[in-house]
C-alpha cells in the first residue's frame, strides 16, 4: 500500500523564552502510515504525542527532519500553504471538541466545505449530522449541547471535507465511558466507510488496541513500533 504520511528524522525543540534554554520534545522520529490504515500514538503525559500530531497535521513547523503528507512535503510550506493542505486533505477531532461557540452545529460542520467554496455545503453537512445522529440538534449552539453531542458535531465536521487523513487527539478524553464507547464506534465506522486514514493520539490503550498500528512514545522517542 502507498504511504499517506511519512515521517523521517523528525525532531522538535522549543526554546524557553525566559531561560533561553532548549527543550527537546521529539527526537529522531521515523515512521510511515499506509493509506486507509488506522494508527495510534500512545504514551504517558509529556511524551510528545500531541506535539507529534500537531507537526504531522501541519499545525506547527519541524525543527529538523521531514514530513510528507499525501505526497506533499510540509517542511518548507508557509502558514497559508499549510492551511490549504489541511483544508484539502486533513480532518481533526479534538479532546475539547473545539467548536466555534458563536456558530450552530450545522454552521460548524459547514466551515471546511465553505472554505473550499463547495456549493452544496449545507446539504452535505446536514447529511453528516444526520449520520452522527444529530438531525434534531442542527441549529443548537455548542453551549446548548452535551459533551458527547459536541464531539459528534466535531466528528461530522472532521469528515465533511472528505479528508485523506484524520487526526484525533484524545477524542474520548473528556467523555464518560458509555459516551466514549459510542464515539469510538462512530469514529471507526465513518472512517471505514470513507476509507480515510485515522491517526489517534491517546493514552487509552484499549482504544489504541483497536487500531491497525501503534507506536509508543516516551521522552520524545519511539520506544516501540
Amino acid at each position: 500500500m502507498p504511504s499517506i504520511l511519512s515521517v523521517s528524522d523528525l525532531s522538535k525543540i522549543y526554546t524557553n523564552a525566559h531561560t533561553k534554554k532548549d527543550l527537546k520534545i521529539l527526537d529522531q522520529i521515523n515512521f510511515n502510515i499506509e493509506k486507509g490504515a488506522s494508527f495510534s500514538i500512545v504514551g504517558p503525559s509529556g511524551s510528545g504525542k500531541t506535539t507529534l500530531l500537531g507537526l504531522c497535521a501541519g499545525l506547527d513547523q519541524v525543527t529538523s527532519g521531514s514530513i510528507v503528507l499525501n505526497d506533499i512535503k510540509l517542511d518548507n510550506l508557509n502558514e497559508d500553504q499549510l492551511a490549504k493542505v489541511r483544508n484539502d486533505h486533513v480532518g481533526f477531532v479534538f479532546q475539547n471538541f473545539q467548536l466555534i461557540p458563536t456558530l450552530t452545529a450545522l454552521e460548524n460542520v459547514m466551515i471546511p466545505l465553505e472554505l473550499r467554496g463547495e456549493k452544496n455545503a449545507e446539504s452535505s453537512s446536514k447529511d453528516l449530522l444526520a449520520r452522527v445522529g444529530l438531525s434534531e440538534r442542527m441549529i443548537h449552539y455548542p453551549v446548548q449541547m452535551s459533551g458527547g453531542e459536541q464531539q459528534r458535531v466535531s466528528i461530522a465536521r472532521a469528515f465533511s471535507n472528505n479528508p485523506k487523513i484524520l487526526f484525533a487527539d484524545e477524542p474520548t478524553g473528556n467523555l464518560d465511558e458509555e459516551t466514549s464507547q459510542s464515539i469510538e464506534e462512530l469514529l471507526f465506522q465513518i472512517n471505514k466507510e470513507s476509507g480515510t486514514t485515522l491517526v489517534i493520539v491517546t493514552h487509552d490503550l484499549e482504544l489504541a488496541a483497536k487500531t491497525d498500528h501503534m507506536i509508543r512514545l516516551k521522552g520524545g522517542k519511539i520506544i516501540s513500533n
Partner: protein, 852 residues
C-alpha cells in the same frame, strides 16, 4: 504549493468571509453595537455641525443683502472724509443714507446711570434690505423724525430704563421711543460687546461730540437697483477710495467676510466634536482589543480547518467595518437632529436666520469618516489575528514574538497623520495642529503609563492582610484579562477633556480679575481734550482717586517703510509688508522714560529727541515681527498731514493685560508735543458705588469723555463667556456621553472576562453581597484612578496654559474638580454594577449557558 485563489474562487472566498463575519457576530452583536456606538456621537456632532455650516453658508448667500442692509456701503474715519471723498460718495448714483458712529458715554437721567455705548446717528431710509427690529416696531422709523433715540434692549433692562425715558448723548437729551432688538448684519454677541444707541443724524451736531480729533466713523449706504452699476462703482472707485483710507463694501464682500467668520466658528466646534470622536475611537480600539483576545480560540480553530490568515483577518475586519458603518449611519442620523438644534444654540453668534436643510454631502462625509476611523483604530488589535497559530487548538501557546512591529508602526503613523491632518482642517495651521495632535498623544501615553504603574504598584504592594472581598476586587486590577489600562485611558482622557473645558473658562475670568487686583489701575478715561485735562484731574483727586497715568495720545498713519509705500507693497508681495500695516490708524504717545509694563529687549531707547538728530522710536516686539521691521529700519508717519521720518531704535516687550495705556509705537520727548492730541487718564476706584458716582460726575461735566472700567469689562466678558460656555458645554456633552458609552462597552467587555470567575465563586458558595462587594471594589478603584489621572492631566495642562499663555498664577477650582471626580467615579461604579446584575441574580448554570 500554490495558494493563489482562482478568480471564481476569489468571489467565493470573499462571500464566505462576509458570511462568516455575520454569523460569528450573532452572539456578540449587542457588544459590537455598543463598541461602535462610541463613535456614533462624535460622528453625530460632526455631521450636525457640517450640515449646519452648509445651511448657514446658503442662508448667508440668500440673505446677503440683509446682512449689509444696502447694495453698497462706503465708510471710514471722519478725518478721511475730505471734501474730495465726499464728492466721490455723492457722484455714486442711487439712493443714499448716512451714518456716523462712535463710542461715547451715555447718561440716563431718571436712573442716574452711565455707560459706554456705540452711538449711531442715521439719516435716510437705511436699511434698504431687512429691518431694524424694535419694540414697538414703528419706533424704527419714528426715531428719525425728531429728538428721539432707540436704545439697546438689554442695556435698557440693565439700567432700568423704559420707553418714554430720556437718554443724554453728549449735551443733548433724546426721548427713547423704542427698544432696539436687532440691527441688520449684527449678532447678539456683537451687541453685547458694543451695545448700540440710535439717534437721528440731524441732531448729532447738538451733542457737541463732533469735535476735531473725535474718532467718528462715517458710512454712506446706497440703494442701487442696477447690479451693473454696483459692479462699475466697485471697479471704478475702490482703488481711489482705498488711497484715501476709505473702504468700499459690496454685498459680495459682506457675504465673503461673514461666511469666513462663521466658518471659523464651525471649525472650532468641529475640533471639539473631533476630540469626542477620538475618544470614541480609543474606546472602540480597546474594546476590540479585548474582543479579539476572546476570539483567539475561534481563530485557531478556523486556521486549523484551513482558513488563511488573511481570510480570518478579514472576517473580523468585516465585522468591525459592518458595525462601523452602522454606527456611522446612526451617528449621521443623530447629526441631522443636532443640526436642527444648532441654530437655536448659536443664535447669539450668527447674523442670519438659519433654516436647517439636509446636507447629503455632510452626511456622506460623516458616514465615510465613521467607517474609515472605526477600521483605522481597530487595525492594531486586529493585527493579532494574523499571528494566531493553528497549534492553539491543541495547546495553550504563548504567542510568538510578533513580527508585525513594522505594520503596527505604519498604523500608528497613519493614525497620527490622520489626527494631524483632520485637526489642520479645523485649526488651519499645520504647526498648531501638530501640537494639538502631540498633546493628545502625550495624554494618551501618560494615561497608559498611569495604568501600567497602577497594575505594577497594586501587585507589588498588595495588601495581603485585608479581607477576601477587598483582596479579590483589588487583585482584579492586575490579574490576566484586567481592564485597568483600557478604563484608565478612556475614562481618564474623557475626564481630562471635560475638566479642561471648565478650567479654560475659569482661567479667562481669572485673568481679567487678577489684572485689576492690588494697586493696579481699574479705570481708564479717554478722549480728554487738552483744555479739559486740569479739571478732570481735579475731579479725580476730589474723589480720592490717584492719577496713575495721564498720557497724551496722537493719531497718525504709516506712509512708508524703508521707502516702500502701500501700493508698492501690494503690487510686490515679496517685499513682505502687509496692506493692513498701511491702512490702520496708529495711536502713539511720547515720553522720556519707559513705564513698569514695558522693557527694552533689543536696541537702545533714546528718551529725548536731540535737535538735528534722527527721530528714534521704539516698537513693541510682537508688532515689529508682525509688520516685518528690524532695528534701524526707516518708517515715515503721516501725523494728521505732517510727515515725520523716524527710525526703529529699539524693540519693547509690553505687558498688554493691565487696565492701563500701552502703545505699539513710542516716540521720544520733543517731537510730537505740538501735534493735535487728546489725553488718557488712568486711575483706580475702590468700590463699585464710588466708581459709578465718579463716572456720573465726569460724564455730566464732560460728555465727550469715554470711560472704561474693569467692572464693565468683567461683566461683558462674563456675559460673553456665559454664552460661549453654553455652546462649549453642549459640545462637551458629546464627549461626556461618548465617555459613558466607552465606559459601558469597557464594562460589558470586562463582564465577559469576569463572568466565569464570578460564576465559579458563586458555585463555590460566594454570596450575592460578596460578589457585589468584589465588583464594587474593582470599579471603585478603576473609577478613582481613571478620574484622578484625567484630572491630573487637566490640571497640568491648565497650569502650563496659566503659566506660559496667560502668565498668571494657577489656582485650581477645587469644587468643580471634586465634582467631576465624584461624578465620574460614581458613574463607573454604577454602570459596572448594573451591568453585572445577571451574574448575581441568576443561577450559575443559567448564566454560563446564556452569557458565555
Amino acid at each position: 504549493m500554490d495558494t493563489i485563489v482562482k478568480p471564481g474562487r476569489l468571489n467565493e472566498s470573499w462571500r464566505w468571509v462576509i458570511k462568516m463575519a455575520w454569523k460569528d457576530s450573532r452572539r456578540n452583536r449587542t457588544r459590537l453595537f455598543i463598541f461602535i456606538l462610541s463613535i456614533a456621537l462624535g460622528i453625530a456632532a460632526l455631521v450636525g455641525i457640517n450640515s449646519f455650516k452648509s445651511s448657514l453658508v446658503s442662508e448667508i448667500n440668500n440673505q446677503a443683502k440683509e446682512l449689509l442692509g444696502a447694495d453698497l456701503a462706503i465708510g471710514g474715519q471722519s478725518k478721511s472724509f475730505t471734501e474730495e471723498a465726499y464728492k466721490f460718495t455723492s457722484d455714486i448714483p442711487g439712493e443714499k443714507s448716512y451714518e456716523s458712529s462712535f463710542a461715547s458715554m451715555i447718561y440716563f437721567p431718571r436712573t442716574d446711570g452711565t455707560r459706554l455705548m456705540n452711538v449711531k446717528s442715521l439719516k435716510g431710509a437705511y436699511p434698504y434690505y431687512g429691518i431694524i427690529e424694535t419694540d414697538p416696531p414703528e419706533a424704527a422709523d419714528q426715531f428719525k423724525k425728531g429728538q428721539f433715540a432707540l436704545v439697546d434692549e438689554s442695556v435698557m433692562l440693565q439700567y432700568n430704563v423704559a420707553v418714554g425715558d430720556d437718554v443724554k448723548v453728549g449735551e443733548t437729551l433724546f426721548n427713547i421711543v423704542g427698544k432696539l432688538k436687532k440691527v441688520p448684519g449684527q449678532t447678539e454677541i456683537g451687541t453685547t460687546v458694543a451695545p448700540v444707541v440710535y439717534i437721528p443724524l440731524d441732531y448729532l451736531g447738538g451733542t457737541g461730540l463732533m469735535k476735531k480729533g473725535s474718532r467718528i466713523n462715517q458710512t454712506v449706504y446706497y440703494k442701487i437697483d442696477d447690479p451693473n452699476e454696483v459692479a462699475e462703482t466697485d471697479e471704478g472707485f475702490r482703488k481711489e477710495l482705498d488711497e484715501m483710507g476709505i473702504y468700499l463694501e459690496t454685498v459680495e464682500d459682506r457675504k465673503r467676510d461673514t461666511g469666513r467668520a462663521f466658518s471659523d466658528l464651525a471649525d472650532f466646534l468641529n475640533l471639539v466634536a473631533f476630540v469626542a470622536l477620538l475618544l470614541g475611537c480609543i474606546g472602540v480600539s480597546s474594546s476590540v482589543f479585548v474582543y479579539i483576545k476572546e476570539k483567539i480560540k475561534t481563530v485557531a480553530i478556523l486556521r486549523c480547518l484551513g482558513a488563511s490568515s488573511n481570510q480570518v483577518f478579514f472576517i473580523f475586519l468585516s465585522q468591525i467595518a459592518i458595525f462601523g458603518l452602522i454606527g456611522a449611519v446612526i451617528g449621521a442620523a443623530i447629526g441631522v437632529f443636532i443640526q436642527g438644534y444648532l441654530p437655536v444654540l448659536l443664535q447669539d453668534f450668527i447674523p442670519v436666520e438659519v433654516n436647517s436643510a439636509i446636507s447629503w454631502v455632510s452626511i456622506l462625509q460623516g458616514v465615510f469618516l465613521g467607517l474609515f476611523i472605526s477600521i483605522l483604530f481597530t487595525l492594531l488589535p486586529l493585527l493579532k489575528v494574523r499571528k494566531v497559530a493553528p497549534l492553539g487548538v491543541i495547546r495553550e501557546i504563548v504567542s510568538k514574538k510578533s513580527d508585525s512591529w513594522m505594520l503596527s508602526g505604519i498604523i500608528y503613523t497613519i493614525i497620527f497623520l490622520f489626527v494631524w491632518f483632520f485637526s489642520k482642517l479645523q485649526i488651519g495651521e499645520w504647526l498648531e495642529a501638530f501640537f494639538f495632535t502631540l498633546g493628545i498623544v502625550a495624554a494618551f501615553i501618560l494615561l497608559t503609563l498611569t495604568g501600567k504603574a497602577v497594575i505594577w504598584l497594586v501587585r507589588k504592594f498588595f495588601p495581603k492582610s485585608v479581607g477576601f472581598v477587598w483582596r479579590q476586587g483589588m487583585a482584579n486590577l492586575y490579574r490576566p484579562n484586567n481592564q485597568t489600562l483600557t478604563l484608565v485611558v478612556t475614562i481618564g482622557l474623557g475626564t481630562a477633556l471635560i475638566s479642561s473645558l471648565y478650567s479654560m473658562q475659569d482661567l479667562l475670568i481669572q485673568q481679567i480679575t487678577i489684572s485689576g487686583e492690588g494697586d493696579r489701575p481699574n479705570m481708564v478715561l479717554f478722549d480728554i481734550q487738552t483744555p479739559q485735562i486740569k479739571e478732570v484731574q481735579e475731579i479725580t483727586l476730589d474723589y480720592d482717586m490717584p492719577i496713575i497715568q495721564d498720557v497724551p495720545v496722537i493719531t497718525m498713519t504709516l506712509k512708508e517703510i524703508n521707502g516702500i509705500n502701500k501700493y508698492q507693497a501690494i503690487s510686490d508681495s515679496t517685499l513682505g509688508y502687509k496692506k493692513w500695516v498701511y491702512n490702520r490708524e496708529y495711536r502713539v504717545t511720547y515720553r522720556e522714560k519707559l513705564i513698569s509694563s514695558e522693557k527694552i529687549v533689543d536696541g537702545k531707547w533714546r528718551g529725548e529727541y536731540q535737535e538735528g538728530d534722527s527721530v528714534f522710536i521704539s516698537i513693541s516686539k510682537g508688532f515689529a515681527q508682525g509688520i516685518n521691521v528690524n532695528i534701524g529700519d526707516e518708517i515715515l508717519f503721516n501725523v494728521q498731514g505732517a510727515l515725520i521720518k523716524t527710525y526703529v531704535g529699539s524693540f519693547r516687550e509690553v505687558d498688554w493685560r493691565r487696565v492701563q495705556t500701552n502703545f505699539l509705537v513710542l516716540f521720544p520727548k520733543g517731537v510730537l508735543e505740538d501735534a493735535p492730541q487728546f489725553n488718557v487718564l488712568v486711575t483706580k476706584t475702590t468700590s463699585g458705588d464710588y466708581a459709578s458716582r465718579y463716572q456720573q460726575a465726569i460724564v455730566r461735566n464732560f460728555p465727550n469723555i469715554s470711560i472704561i472700567d474693569l467692572g464693565l469689562i468683567l461683566s461683558t466678558l462674563e456675559e460673553i463667556l456665559g454664552k460661549i460656555s453654553f455652546v462649549i458645554q453642549f459640545m462637551a456633552l458629546f464627549s461626556i456621553a461618548t465617555g459613558l458609552l466607552v465606559l459601558l462597552s469597557s464594562v460589558i467587555t470586562s463582564k465577559y472576562q469576569r463572568i466565569e470567575e464570578n460564576v465559579l465563586l458563586r458555585t463555590l458558595g460566594a454570596s450575592k453581597s460578596q460578589i457585589w462587594k468584589i465588583l464594587f471594589t474593582e470599579y471603585f478603584m478603576l473609577g478613582t484612578i481613571a478620574s484622578s489621572a484625567g484630572l491630573f492631566i487637566s490640571m497640568v495642562g491648565s497650569l502650563l496654559l496659566a503659566k506660559y499663555v496667560f502668565e498668571i498664577p494657577y489656582a485650581p477650582n477645587y469644587i468643580s474638580l471634586i465634582g467631576v471626580f465624584l461624578i465620574i467615579t460614581s458613574l463607573t461604579v454604577i454602570i459596572g454594577l448594573l451591568n453585572s446584575r445577571s451574574v448575581t441574580n441568576n443561577p450559575p448554570l443559567q448564566v454560563i449557558r446564556k452569557e458565555v
